[in-house]
């Protein structure tokens, strides 16, 4: 019964997220109806925690039930008021885009798809049940995400020192350099329930896994049938390490969902047929990107610059192809600058003010640059010869090579470039710095792939689809020509 607090705790943040997405879309919706709710849940929850963080450091709200609740009510009132104002000025709700037509597949395909969905549901439900009925086990769950959440819950304060520190050690705990979103969500749920219950506070991780799966589904539905959506969903849930992380109280699937949201919105911007729709998608992308620094440290150090670089590329191409004017590009850039400054800056200033490191429990500066042996071997083993990713990466590489036009010269390039920039960009860090231990110990490197695999799964699905359906269409064209 205590798990009932989960949907209750997510309701207002979801509504806040939905409202802000709707407001940012303006007169030109770019999201499917269900997609808006899913993204609303993801981004709304993180935004709510960010606002609570702001209220807390401004001494306006404690991390108490009243503190969390009042911030949410104020945000809901403001956004709800803006929404009603907009409705008043703009009568008639603009229609959301329609999902791609989905003809009924052949019976045997339908049966196979249902079997895949049932198998996937079992693989999520059973470990999910275990997550909620067993005590925390893995190191980061215990020492970081849950302990910090419990400390916030008990002290009602954003404590930067943890009880794992010796009483005489007055320094700030390095784990506190991690953004507090995940622990704050846990503290919020615990306040609702009135007690710390690891099953309840960990259940939110399952929600983040389901959000990732749902976002993959809806992204495919923009351009392809339900058959392809089921395939994509199955592919993502088939990846053992992703499933393992998603059904445990770790924050990498949470970050992967945020990165996925930002990437999807850039993809929508690239696909948009009108400047208005492209700008609307860019506003949404700016919002999702701005929240990245408040997820995990990688969000600030790796994914924010990557998304900005790809956005820059998209804007340049848009101007070159005259799909956007320089003025419209300026507006798009202004949204990114505004939202990133509004959301990212306070967190960065807070970190600087408290002398927190910017890496994950270790500083990213001061590394000696030298070749690190065995790292390439370790990376190859993790990527190609363990059970982590099944056949994903060989298939993905083969598709990149054989479907390069689709991968690099269509809107899918947004996903391709994000993946390549992050992968190629990270490689020197592992090969030449002390971060090599993250690859040798198979910790940080594999986590990096966790963040990227939803993007890769979308790419793989749509590239295979282009291979199959291109062949299909070309066959038909060839048949027609032959008949003529």
């Amino acid at each position: 019964m205590i798990l009932l607090w989960l949907p209750i705790g997510l309701a207002i943040p979801t509504l806040i997220g939905w409202l802000i997405l709707t407001l940012l879309e303006g007169k030109t919706p770019v999201l499917l109806g269900i997609e808006r709710w899913v993204m609303g849940l993801l981004l709304g929850l993180t935004l709510t925690m960010y606002l609570t963080f702001l209220g807390h450091i401004a001494s306006l709200a404690a991390l108490s039930l009243g503190g969390f609740f009042s911030v949410q009510l104020v945000a809901l009132a403001i956004l709800g008021g803006l929404y009603l104002l907009r409705r008043w000025h703009l009568p008639g709700i603009p229609a959301s885009p329609v999902a791609s037509p989905s003809p009924r597949p052949r019976t045997w395909i339908l049966i196979a798809l249902i079997a895949l969905l049932v198998w996937t549901a079992v693989k999520i439900a059973v470990p999910g049940f275990i997550l909620m009925t067993t005590p925390p086990y893995f190191d980061d769950t215990i020492t970081n995400w849950n302990l910090r959440g419990d400390v916030f819950f008990v002290t009602k304060n954003l404590e930067l020192r943890l009880p794992t520190q010796h009483p005489n050690d007055l320094s700030i705990n390095s784990l506190s350099s991690y953004p507090p979103t995940v622990p704050m969500v846990k503290a919020w749920l615990a306040h609702l329930a009135g007690r710390w219950d690891s099953g309840l506070v960990d259940s939110v991780h399952l929600v983040w896994l389901l959000i990732s799966l749902a976002l993959v589904w809806t992204t495919i539905r923009h351009t392809a049938s339900r058959t392809w959506s089921v395939i994509a969903l199955w592919l993502l849930a088939s990846l053992p390490l992703y499933l393992m992380q998603g059904t445990n109280a770790y924050a990498d699937v949470f970050l992967s969902a945020h990165l996925l949201a930002a990437a999807i919105l850039l993809y929508h911007a690239a696909r948009a047929e009108t400047p208005q729709r492209r700008l609307a998608a860019l506003r949404l992308a700016a919002f999702a990107t701005a929240l990245l620094p408040f997820t995990k440290n990688e969000g600030l150090l790796i994914y924010l610059p990557t998304i900005l670089a790809v956005t820059g590329g998209l804007l340049l191409v848009s101007v070159t192809r005259k799909t956007l004017t320089w003025r419209q590009v300026g507006i798009g850039v202004a949204w990114f600058v505004l939202l990133i400054l509004a959301i990212g800056a306070p967190w960065i200033v807070f970190k600087l003010a408290h002398g927190m490191p910017f890496g994950n429990a270790k500083s990213v500066s001061g590394f000696t640059v030298a070749w690190q042996s065995n790292v390439l071997f370790s990376i190859a083993i993790n990527t190609f010869f363990e059970g982590n990713w099944l056949l994903l990466f060989p298939v993905f590489i083969a598709l990149l090579l054989t479907r390069s036009r689709e991968a690099f010269r269509t809107p899918l390039a947004m996903f391709t470039f994000i993946f390549l920039i992050v992968s190629v960009g990270q490689l020197p860090l592992f090969l030449f710095t002390g971060l090599s231990t993250e690859a040798l110990m198979q910790t940080g490197y594999a986590r990096g792939l966790i963040h990227l695999v939803p993007i890769v799964v979308i790419l793989v699905t749509l590239l295979v689809r282009s291979l199959v359906e291109n062949e299909d269409e070309r066959c038909k064209m060839q048949d027609t020509r032959t008949k003529e």
Partner: protein, 385 residues
């Protein structure tokens, strides 16, 4: 049709012809010493086996009629020591003997199954085999069993090893080994006990199948004269290839999904479905259960003392996460008079002395008190008066 089945049966016959072959060298009679060339050791044949003392080695010609993949060495009486397995590769210089260190735990009796197939230096048809013993050896060697398997059995064992799962461990959140191919039952039983596990990743097989399928399908298309630019002609070949990749992916998914479900099944069996006092949680055994049952006492005061064995001090953080805001004392902190609760976990060296105090040897750790709960012989909850 019958002819095909018959031919298939004849083809498969060699795979089944040689089932597991083993040779047992039993040392429980005096004649067993004859083939052995003993150097430096004192070997005394007894009813239990060879009583071996001193330092040195003993070797013999194998004279086996079958290849060897595994050797089981059984001691009636053992000791904690590192001995060596010795062998000679046929064709190598006579004095060139390969040594493999083998750790004995000192169990009474003790059988050490050794998978020799994992060592590239091993020769299945070795002609000389033996054992080397360190200084101050004193043990009783009972028997040695040398075992080998046929090709068919190895293939069957490889298939079984694909479906042999790892258990959920601390590293499982960062990587999963996935299916590993090994070819004998001993290697399979020891599969995930050594890190990294010995064997071939099954991914190699998948990649080989995909590559062969690609070549075969492309070859078939070429043989049938399908031009590369003929899209309608090449489509079925592409779909066939994608179908093979999808089938392998699904097989792999079933394998890994089953492993993840096996983690859940074990947790349900050992933790969730068990009453307090019988719960075992993964490699932390009954630690969570002990802390959980102790919670009313541990959370009564702000601080408590926890004693855990060296090397697993991180369990104190686990306990802290369960009892917060009550926290365990750091090892270097002094135990003040305000501390009343002591949780002792797997510390056989700590006991309650005759004065009712906790003590480690003759060192008194606490004021007098009483044991409130005894969880197992070396774990208990102690409250001071």
């Amino acid at each position: 049709m019958r002819l095909r089945i018959l031919l298939l049966g004849l083809f498969l016959l060699p795979f089944a012809a040689h089932a597991e072959q083993s040779t047992v060298w039993n040392f429980q009679n005096a004649d067993a010493l004859k083939p052995w060339n003993v150097q430096g050791l004192s070997v005394d044949p007894t009813a239990e086996g060879f009583h071996i003392t001193g330092q040195g080695g003993m070797i013999r010609d194998t004279l086996l009629s079958h290849p060897v993949d595994v050797v089981d060495v059984t001691f009636a009486r053992s000791q904690a020591a590192s001995i060596a397995l010795l062998w000679h590769v046929p064709g190598a210089p006579q004095q060139e003997v390969i040594q493999l260190p083998v750790q004995l735990n000192g169990a009474q009796p003790e059988t050490i199954p050794i998978d020799l197939s994992r060592y590239p230096q091993w020769d299945r048809n070795t002609d000389v085999f033996g054992l080397g013993f360190p200084l101050n050896t004193d043990l009783v060697l009972q028997s040695m069993t040398l075992r080998g398997w046929s090709l068919g059995e190895k293939i069957a064992e490889a298939w079984r090893s694909i479906w042999t799962f790892d258990e959920e461990k601390a590293y499982s959140i960062n990587f999963l080994w996935g299916p590993i191919l090994v070819t004998n039952p001993v290697a399979r039983a020891q599969l995930y006990q050594t890190l990294p596990p010995f064997g071939w990743s099954v991914n190699r097989v998948f990649y080989a199948v995909i590559a062969l399928a690609g070549i075969a399908i492309a070859g078939a298309a070429i043989c049938r004269g399908v031009p590369l630019r003929d899209r309608s002609g090449r489509r079925p070949y592409i779909l066939t290839f994608l179908g093979i990749v999808a089938a392998l992916w699904l097989l792999y998914d079933v394998r890994m999904g089953s492993e993840l479900l096996s983690y859940a099944a074990k947790d349900y069996r050992t933790e969730i479905s068990q009453p307090p006092g019988q719960r075992i949680f993964r490699n932390y055994e009954n630690f969570y259960d002990i802390v959980d049952r102790s919670l009313p006492f541990l959370t009564r005061d702000r601080r408590y003392v926890m004693e855990v064995p060296k090397g697993i001090e991180h369990l104190m953080t686990v306990a802290l996460s369960m009892t917060y805001p009550s926290t365990p004392l750091f090892p270097e902190e002094n135990v003040g008079p305000e501390i009343h609760t002591w949780l002792i976990f797997r510390r056989g060296d700590i006991h309650v002395n005759d004065h009712g105090q906790l003590a480690q040897g003759s060192t008194v750790l606490s004021p007098p008190g009483r044991t409130v709960m005894q969880f197992d012989p070396t774990s208990f909850l102690f409250l001071t008066n």
